[in-house]
């Protein structure tokens, strides 16, 4: 077979990236090139006071600022040895969950779904299928309202500081949030009904290993461990022993391996690991779980998560609205090391800080889901490439499926670019 190189600038993702697929004499190679400029946020955080680190970390990403903020603050709380009361943890997790829902809505409707209706852009889909997209806009809006109620504003939360919330959310606020979530739940059901019926391109996950952060109770709660699909469970602070990082010359993002293997993080992993905990959604889970070894099925998992998180947050808020909450705890500055892991909208997120006795961050390491998925995306693309070699796919179709594949992972490139090449 002759030489063929496909180089696709993928649109409808956050940031800039290029996927290069080269087929030469039957061998297939794929490169996930992040061409987004380097951001080096870790270097900015080093040398700052502990209370400033989360402020900077939340600026990593406008879409999932809450995830970065919470991971950062959890890492620092672990480093300082802060013991949090249950009420704080509950509200903190609710903040993260509702943000996952909102991000998934944005990804599904505005980035991924146009592909499934042969529309090149959102506006094209809007003119063709206005009812569907309107549901997306409405749902996004409702989720953002709840985000604002819990986090203070839509991006860069300002209601939470090390050691707890600054103010108690008033009863009105919580009641309003519950009301909004009730409305959102109905819409989310429509969405799940719709998306779980979509027909996906066929592809088998080339490396079915996934990592997911431990969820002690329920779905998407914040724990101290990382679980893997191979049955291994390790403390978050021990992640350097298991997850190795590597700088590659073709991309501005690092690549990661788990015990030397290519792995996946994201919605698919979460549903596979914790799907059985979704009370009331068993039918949906069982209907999509067979498909979840297909990377494209990420969008189905994401749709399911929208409904699951909205229901969960609604229940939690409803429960705590009449209670007297303890939302602040004291802490003292001391030296230490802490890792914060949680499930960001795109998968496992790790923030790691070392703090000195004066309360300055002396070491920072941030591992984002997109960077961890980089190799997995390459491998999935190679599987597609093999299909071209075997003649199952023609090149025009392959191009379309390649961009759909990358979009199914929902990569966020501004988050991923934290590379320092040491001289």
């Amino acid at each position: 077979m002759s030489y063929l190189e496909l180089s696709e600038r993928i649109d409808k993702v956050f940031g800039h990236l290029e996927l290069r697929l080269s087929l030469r004499n039957g061998s297939v190679d794929a490169k996930f090139r992040v061409v987004h400029d380097m951001r080096l946020i870790e270097a900015v955080i080093e040398g700052r006071k502990v209370d400033e680190a989360p402020i900077i970390a939340s600026r990593i990403c406008g879409a999932c600022s809450i995830a970065h903020f919470l991971a950062s603050i959890t890492a620092i709380e672990n480093a300082l040895g802060v013991e949090l009361p249950d009420d704080i943890i509950l509200l903190k997790e609710s903040m993260n969950k509702i943000q996952v829902a909102q991000n998934n809505v944005v990804h599904l409707f505005f980035l991924a779904l146009p592909d499934y209706y042969n529309a090149r852009t959102l506006s094209e889909l809007l003119s063709r299928n206005p009812d569907l997209i309107k549901v997306g806009f409405k749902l996004n809006n409702l989720c953002l309202q709840v985000v604002e109620l819990l986090a203070g504003r839509i991006v860069n939360p300002n209601t939470y500081r090390i050691g707890g919330f600054t103010k108690k959310p008033s009863k009105d606020k919580v009641e309003k949030a519950v009301r909004i979530l009730g409305e959102a739940e109905k819409l989310a059901r429509e969405v799940v009904d719709h998306v779980t019926r979509l027909e996906l391109p066929e592809l088998v996950d080339p490396s079915p290993v996934y990592l997911v952060s431990e969820s002690p109770i329920g779905y998407l709660s914040i724990g101290d461990y990382i679980l893997s699909s191979t049955g291994e469970k390790f403390r978050a602070v021990d992640y350097p022993k298991y997850i190795s990082e590597e700088v590659v010359d073709y991309s501005n993002s690092k690549v990661y391996r788990y015990n030397g293997r290519v792995f996946y993080v994201g919605s698919r992993a979460r549903v596979l690991e914790y799907g059985e905990r979704l009370v009331g959604l068993e039918d949906y889970v069982s209907s999509i779980v067979k498909e979840l070894n297909n990377p494209y099925a990420n969008i189905k998992a994401k749709a399911l998560e929208i409904l699951a998180t909205i229901m969960d947050v609604k229940e939690k808020l409803d429960e705590l609205k009449d209670r007297d909450l303890r939302l602040r705890t004291e802490y003292t500055i001391r030296s230490g090391e802490g890792v914060g892991v949680l499930e960001a909208p795109r998968g496992l997120l790790i923030h790691h800080y070392r703090v000195d006795s004066e309360g300055r961050v002396v070491y920072a390491n941030i591992i984002t889901p997109t960077a961890m998925n980089a190799l997995h995306i390459e491998h999935s693309a190679m599987t597609l490439g093999k299909k071209i070699v075997e003649g199952e796919l023609d090149v025009v179709e392959a191009k379309k499926y390649l961009s759909m594949l990358v979009r199914a992972y929902d990569p966020c490139l501004p988050c991923a670019v934290h590379v320092v090449v040491k001289q």
Binding site: E52, G152, N158, T159, K167
Partner: protein, 223 residues
């Protein structure tokens, strides 16, 4: 009746009336601070200046109309001069917002400063409007006193300190007042500096701000 042209729109007003009457009749507006119809017409704040056809700038509240007078309310020159006037008014205003009787209500001066982009009103001015507890009193290094207002103080409203994302105020009088506030509440300046570096690290006036704050903090007000 006298025929006047406001922004090239023809209006008729009674003899002996003033430009401001014609402007309002024509459906335009000019900002006013000291003017109070029937009670005060001394044009002491000058914020209501308008440009005449011959290029003169006159206060609309106290300049009588004449036949065929051409008035422009919103030229670039007018806006530039209003800005200067606002800065001059603010120069003797300092940070009085915390003790202002308008606290909790609305402030025309603040609105105008925002509209004309005059730096010099700190976030503190907006903060009490939301009924917030002052974070300086709690001993936290809030950048409210030295950050440009206009954001609506979303951070202090939620009980977290202002981190200065809107940029610093570089006016000396405000900085001196701010340094006094920090000193009064025993907030170490190092902490304030540390927060300032979050967003203002490359600000050309950062050294100047540092020095003014340090000077006042360490030596009381400079004679």
């Amino acid at each position: 009746m006298v025929k006047v042209y406001v922004n090239d729109k023809e209006v008729e007003v009674g003899e002996g009336s003033y430009i401001i009457d014609a402007v309002i009749k024509a459906g335009y507006s000019v900002p006013t601070l000291c003017f109070f119809k029937g009670i005060y017409r001394e044009a002491s704040c000058r914020i209501c200046i308008v440009e005449l056809g011959n290029g003169r700038l006159v206060p609309a509240c106290a300049y009588p109309v004449s036949e065929g007078l051409r008035v422009y309310t919103n030229t670039e020159r007018v806006r530039r001069n209003r800005r200067v006037i606002l800065e001059l008014i603010l120069a003797s205003h300092k940070i009085k917002c915390q003790s202002c009787p308008r606290k909790g209500g609305f402030c025309q001066l603040l609105d105008l400063a925002r509209e004309y982009g005059v730096e010099g009103i700190p976030v503190c001015a907006e903060c009490p409007l939301h009924g917030n507890e002052c974070l300086l009193v709690r001993g936290e290094p809030c950048l409210g006193p030295i950050t440009i207002a206009g954001c609506g103080s979303p951070c202090t409203r939620e009980g977290t300190i202002c981190i200065g994302c809107r940029g610093p105020i570089t006016r000396r009088d405000v900085l001196v007042e701010a340094a006094r506030l920090y000193k009064e509440h025993k907030i170490p300046l190092e902490e304030v500096f540390s927060k300032m570096k979050l967003f203002w690290n490359n600000h050309p006036s950062l050294d100047k701000i540092y020095n003014i704050l340090l000077e006042t903090y360490n030596g009381g007000e400079k004679k």
